[in-house]
């Protein structure tokens, strides 16, 4: 359950462009999970259509042990697809996912699949549809235990189920487990979602907008559960959200997605205090923060994020970008390191400090 | 089919199928030209000629609307033209000792060995389009059948051995390869003469078998005018060759899709001539009016056909068959199964009362078949090793849709149960039933021959002659139970050459064999359905004056009935 052994199978010295930067002490830790050029395209339209939606394009990211990484973007930015790629719901169109240094493509057999699934479970966005209404709340947890921890007996499974339910702050656990989903509130159901994931003794929880459908008063509780899980259970979390403020609240590192690309990444505070990418800046300015001043570029905000179908080269944000230059229409910007572990994919963005590695990215 | 078994229960006292080579006996067969030995005259002699007028409406359910086709060669359409519009050479009354009425031929003459017949064609007959009728039309009709075999419905050119048909003056000569007297009924009575000037050209000549013939041109008493899917209206042929006839000026033949409404019309007197089953006829029809009458003459047997092939252990055992014959209460079957509207049959195989003079009552009662005898049946069966405790399981096949047969079999099943036979009734689609009956794939079959003849000989021969049987799996032709008895075969041979008394004697000898061997078990007798209303129309055929088969679906008999009918109001 704890992550002390995380480094054992890790690949030291990853060359991923996105540097790693933990909450202080994690500078050189090996990756728990990383993706290299991960790509997923969907065919759209009818049977004969050749149009392709580029949901996730060439994404490379790293998640370390005991780290909460937030993936932020508007709807349609590809963040949910990315989560489903990591959860092995979709197969990648290109690129690869490495878990503890090993490519998922090399996983053979149901046993290996199950092992990965038990290490990397997922929590879904909609608490009202993520529990099967036909079963008691305990169903998913017990099934998961039976699948992933076959050594447990019936009573042990039940005990473990009660433990994880308590771990996510629900009490009395025994009683909660015997309820049906519709007898629980949205927040309670979402906690059950985390409890299910926790039951597997996971290393990394993929949390796909776990709080966006919850009422404000309850959200914080769930976010706190996530940080507690990291502290007490030692898991990493990929927190997917459109809410930058909540990302800042829980995450060590921030990835900003736009149109299938990661456009900016870096330690949360670094990104938020000095956003490099114009999109990140726009996003930040739009956050309904009661304490933030009112300022928004109405023109950029007014147009909607594009569905990336058969994209031509060039920056995908250029149509909304107040800073767009000619290069933005011709060349797809790549992530450039512009600060310590802080990278952005923008032709215009400037580094806050010269970095020898920045030249690696094409301008 | 919700119709009460009609189609198979129809009386058709004609020649059997082509394969049957029975000789037809007819008194006065060697009469000389122009002087038929026996005629019933035109109409009932007592009544004399009548004034013209009146309308007759026929209620005879067909289960379809009219197609307005009248081709006399099309079996689906010829009921509505033969007799009404088209006429034969000689009319033969099957119900009255084969009494003959000259129609388009005034007479005929056989040669000595009966391989050639010369008809004298009637003068002064006109087709209803005004063209004169001649001997050439007669010869044309027969030669057409040669040219287009599909029109040769009675297989005259193939099976009967017709060689040539020639006309000369008012004489038409039919020459055969062999003795052809048995086919007289077919070519003289059943074949309708068609006009050469119509059937000799155009579409009619090219496809005489399939041509629709929407406006039939015939010599008969009526013309079609007009026809719609819902109704055929026949109007009197004013130029008809029998002067003063027909009396009736209009015949309505509405299409009925079901018995029910046709029966309602009959009961209400809206239709005067009925030719179908009426359930509960007494309440529903006869009691409605004193003018409503019915006379449905029985003519054929409906029997259980046991499978005599040795592979069928039970039914090939005579004791079992006798037991069944003893156990069945035929009166009760007739009363319940047929609603009392068909008479019970008897083990002799002779249809009563129609063929009373052939019936050997003594032999029947001596064998104990004059009344049901369940005790004897049980005894016979236990001798064969079966009892109610160890019942014999038999199945009987029947045709689905014939609900009267279903009901009859329900009664039989109930009667066989106490003696130790467990009968299963299998209702089969007509076609399936036929196949299994013909090839002998059954324990018992409930069936009635569709055709017989003017004496019991014809039906008995059909059923019993070994020439008509075949091994299991092959198609039998009448002798479906697979009965083989050389003695009986010999009797059939002798019949053709015997005189009247001898024929009666021969039939009685055959009866004896039927009683002894029980090759079939006659249960009830099928009838020619007939109801008539006398409020306005008179001249109907009656038991006392059976001048024609009474149902409207018999041809050319329907034409004879129409020539006899007259309106009382018009007198």
């Amino acid at each position: 359950m704890t992550a002390e052994t995380a480094g054992a199978a890790g690949t030291a010295g990853t060359t991923a462009a996105t540097g790693t930067h933990g909450p202080a002490d994690t500078a050189a830790r090996p990756a728990l999970l990383e993706t290299v050029g991960l790509t997923r395209h969907f065919r759209v339209g009818g049977g004969l259509s050749r149009r392709t939606l580029h949901a996730v394009d060439d994404v490379s990211l790293v998640i370390h042990d005991r780290e909460i990484v937030a993936l932020v973007g508007e709807s349609g930015s590809g963040k949910s697809t990315l989560a489903r790629l990591l959860a092995q719901v979709y197969r990648p169109t290109g690129g690869e996912i490495r878990y503890q240094g090993r490519s998922l493509a090399t996983l053979r057999g149901r046993r290996a699949q199950l092992a990965y699934r038990s290490d990397v479970p997922m929590v879904f966005q909609d608490p009202f549809s993520s529990l099967n209404p036909a079963y008691r709340v305990s169903h998913g947890i017990l099934r998961g235990l039976a699948l992933h921890r076959p050594g447990l007996g019936r009573a042990e499974r039940r005990a473990e189920a009660e433990r994880v339910v308590e771990a996510v702050g629900l009490a009395p656990a025994a009683e909660i487990l015997d309820r049906y989903p519709h007898e629980l509130s949205g927040g309670q159901r979402q906690r059950i979602g985390f409890a299910q994931a926790l039951a597997y003794r996971p290393r990394l929880i993929l949390a796909d907008e776990p709080v966006s459908m919850l009422d404000v008063s309850i959200r914080i509780g769930l976010l706190n559960v996530m940080t507690q899980l990291r502290e007490r259970e030692g898991v990493s979390i990929l927190y997917i959200t459109h809410d930058i403020a909540s990302a800042r609240y829980v995450a060590d590192r921030l990835l900003v997605m736009y149109g299938g690309h990661v456009v900016e990444s870096g330690p949360t505070e670094a990104v938020l205090t000095a956003p490099r990418h114009p999109y990140t800046q726009l996003l930040l300015s739009a956050v309904p923060d009661p304490r933030a001043p009112l300022e928004v570029d109405a023109a950029a905000a007014r147009s909607d994020p594009p569905a990336v179908i058969d994209p031509a080269p060039g920056c995908r944000f250029r149509a909304r970008c107040p800073l767009a230059v000619d290069a933005c229409h011709a060349l797809t910007p790549r992530l450039r390191e512009l600060g310590p572990a802080h990278a952005a994919a923008c032709h215009v963005a400037e580094a806050d400090a010269p970095s020898p590695r920045a030249s690696a990215a094409p301008a | 089919m919700r119709r009460f078994r009609l189609l198979a229960a129809v009386l058709a006292l004609g020649m059997a199928t082509a394969a049957c080579s029975a000789t037809q006996h007819r008194t006065g067969s060697d009469s000389s030209s122009g002087t038929p030995s026996r005629t019933s005259g035109a109409g009932t002699p007592a009544n004399g000629p009548h004034k013209k007028g009146g309308t007759v409406t026929i209620a005879n359910e067909q289960g379809q609307t009219w197609t307005c086709q009248f081709n006399p060669f099309n079996p689906a359409a010829y009921l509505e033209s033969n007799g009404f519009v088209y006429e034969p050479l000689i009319y033969v009354d099957s119900l009255n000792n084969q009494a003959e009425t000259p129609m388009l031929a005034t007479g005929y003459r056989w040669n000595a060995d009966k391989t050639q017949i010369v008809f004298t064609v009637r003068d002064g007959v006109k087709w209803n389009d005004g063209q004169p009728f001649t001997a050439a039309d007669v010869a044309f009709t027969f030669n057409l059948m040669k040219r287009v075999p599909a029109t040769d419905l009675y297989a005259l050119w193939s099976a009967a051995g017709l060689k040539s048909v020639t006309a000369s003056g008012n004489q038409v000569t039919l020459a055969f390869k062999q003795t052809a007297e048995t086919y007289f009924y077919a070519f003289a009575d059943q074949v309708s003469i068609v006009p050469q000037h119509i059937f000799g050209s155009g579409e009619a000549a090219a496809h005489p078998d399939t041509w629709a013939d929407p406006h039939p041109v015939g010599t008969g008493p009526f013309k079609v005018d007009p026809c719609s899917p819902n109704n055929i209206q026949y109007t009197a042929n004013s130029g008809y060759w029998q002067a003063g006839k027909p009396y009736i000026q209009k015949v309505e033949y509405p299409a009925y899709l079901d018995n029910g409404p046709a029966n309602l019309d009959l009961a209400a007197g809206k239709a005067q001539w009925g030719s179908q089953f009426i359930p509960g006829i007494k309440n529903f029809y006869l009691d409605k009016s004193p003018d409503n009458h019915t006379w449905s003459p029985p003519v054929l047997n409906v029997s259980l056909f046991p499978n005599l092939d040795p592979s069928h252990k039970a039914t090939s055992n005579p004791a079992v068959r006798q037991a069944i014959a003893h156990a069945i209460d035929r009166s009760r079957v007739a009363a319940i199964g047929e609603g009392g509207q068909e008479p019970p049959g008897n083990q002799s195989g002779v249809v009563l009362p129609t063929f009373q003079k052939y019936y050997d009552a003594g032999a029947v009662s001596a064998a104990g078949y004059d009344k049901p005898d369940p005790a004897k049946a049980a005894q016979l069966l236990s001798g064969a090793g079966y009892s109610p405790a160890h019942p014999l399981k038999l199945s009987v096949i029947t045709i689905t849709g014939y609900t009267d047969w279903d009901a009859s079999l329900a009664v039989i099943k109930q009667q066989l149960k106490p003696i130790g036979i467990d009968l299963t009734v299998q209702d089969l689609a007509q076609q399936t039933f036929d196949t299994r009956l013909y090839t002998g794939d059954f324990d018992l079959a409930y069936y009635g021959e569709p055709t017989g003849g003017p004496t019991p000989y014809y039906e008995l021969r059909e059923i019993l002659a070994s020439a008509n049987t075949a091994p299991l799996g092959k198609q039998a032709n009448g002798n479906y139970e697979r009965y083989r008895n050389p003695a009986v075969d010999a009797l059939f041979q002798q019949y053709a050459t015997a005189d009247d008394a001898g024929q009666v004697a021969i039939v009685k000898q055959i009866e004896a064999a039927v009683i002894k061997d029980v090759p079939v078990i006659p249960v009830t007798e099928s009838v020619d359905w007939f109801q008539y209303n006398t409020a306005d129309i008179a001249g109907w055929p009656t038991p006392e004056d059976p001048y024609a088969q009474p149902a409207a679906f018999n041809f050319p008999d329907a034409g004879q009935v129409l020539l006899h009918l007259y309106s009382k109001a018009a007198q």
Partner: protein, 329 residues
């Protein structure tokens, strides 16, 4: 466009499937038209003559089944449906169908459309006046009526309105046989009179479905925001009911309407049978009873085409009424 092509492909496939089924069923079943006809002619006519006759009427049982199939497909498509070889031997199938079609179209068509329109209207009103008298009384009543067997309703109507009244309303046939067809008041009156009971039977048994589905659709649609929006805009009730609620509520019913034509045909067989109404249903019944392949096949194809055509028409209607469907097309 692609959507339409897809639909067209579906129609062709369905038609082909129906035609093939239609071809195979009678051929792999026992019995032959020859024996059927043999029985019908009371054994008077020799089997050989019958077979010869059937051959001249276009029946070729001994041909290779493959070439029979191809020929059959060709004939079906080109409208050469052949001659009846059943009870109506020799009559062109097209003529038989031509005679029966107007009656079925008139009776069943009118009853169906009437049931749909009336049922939809009542359903709209019931759904609109939620909790009103209409809404509380109708659903259970029509749940029951829509489950009634056609033929039983027919029998009941016959008993009450024909038998008990001494024939007040005719219960048989399409018009009084004593009347010569034509545009006379007597004839038209007779036709209408004869249509009352069978029409009522169809109406009673089919209207319930429309009322219920339309009511349910209305209730679902009425909960939609745009209906509330209509109220908020101050639109008249009539406008909201028709342009906002009913217009949307009817959309899911269109395809149901098309499909239900299939059921109507089935019902029509029983109703026509009970009332001896000489329409297509009765014709099919007769064709089946008489092993009349050509007629059976033509009718079956016709029924399938009718349903397909209805589906197509409803597709088009949906395209016309629903811009979202247009976008997909």
């Amino acid at each position: 466009m692609r959507h339409l092509l897809r639909r067209l492909g579906f129609f062709l496939l369905t038609l082909w499937a129906a035609l093939t089924l239609n071809f195979l069923i009678p051929r792999f079943m026992p019995g032959s038209p020859v024996t059927a006809l043999h029985d019908r002619t009371r054994g008077k006519v020799s089997a050989a003559a019958l077979e010869q006759m059937l051959t001249s009427f276009g029946f070729r049982p001994h041909q290779n089944i493959g070439s029979q199939y191809l020929q059959y497909l060709g004939n079906m498509v080109t409208g050469h449906w052949g001659l009846s070889i059943g009870q109506t031997l020799g009559e062109p199938v097209t003529t038989l169908i031509g005679q029966a079609l107007p009656w079925t179209l008139g009776l069943v068509g009118t009853a169906t459309v009437l049931a749909f329109l009336l049922g939809t209207l009542i359903g709209v009103l019931a759904g609109w006046r939620r909790g009103g008298r209409l809404d509380t009384v109708l659903p259970p009543v029509f749940v029951v009526t829509s489950a009634l067997p056609y033929f039983w309703v027919a029998l009941l109507l016959i008993l009450v309105f024909s038998v008990w009244t001494g024939g007040l309303l005719p219960s048989d046939f399409n018009y009084d046989n004593t009347i010569v067809p034509g545009f006379s008041p007597g004839f038209v009156g007779s036709v209408l009179q004869h249509a009352v009971l069978p029409g009522a039977t169809l109406l009673i048994t089919s209207i319930g479905g429309w009322i219920l589905t339309m009511r349910n659709n209305m209730i679902t649609v009425l909960a939609e925001d745009y209906v509330r929006m209509g109220r908020a805009k101050g639109l008249s009730n009539r406008r909201i009911m028709y342009d906002y609620a009913a217009r949307n509520a009817i959309l899911p019913n269109l395809s149901g309407f098309a499909m239900s034509l299939g059921f109507v045909i089935s019902g029509a067989i029983l109703v026509e049978y009970v009332f001896n109404y000489p329409g297509l249903g009765y014709l099919l019944y007769n064709a089946v009873q008489n092993v009349d392949y050509p007629l059976m096949q033509a009718l079956f194809m016709l029924f399938t085409v009718a349903v397909l055509a209805a589906v197509l028409v409803c597709d088009l209607a949906t395209l016309w009424l629903d811009p979202r469907a247009r976008a997909k097309g």
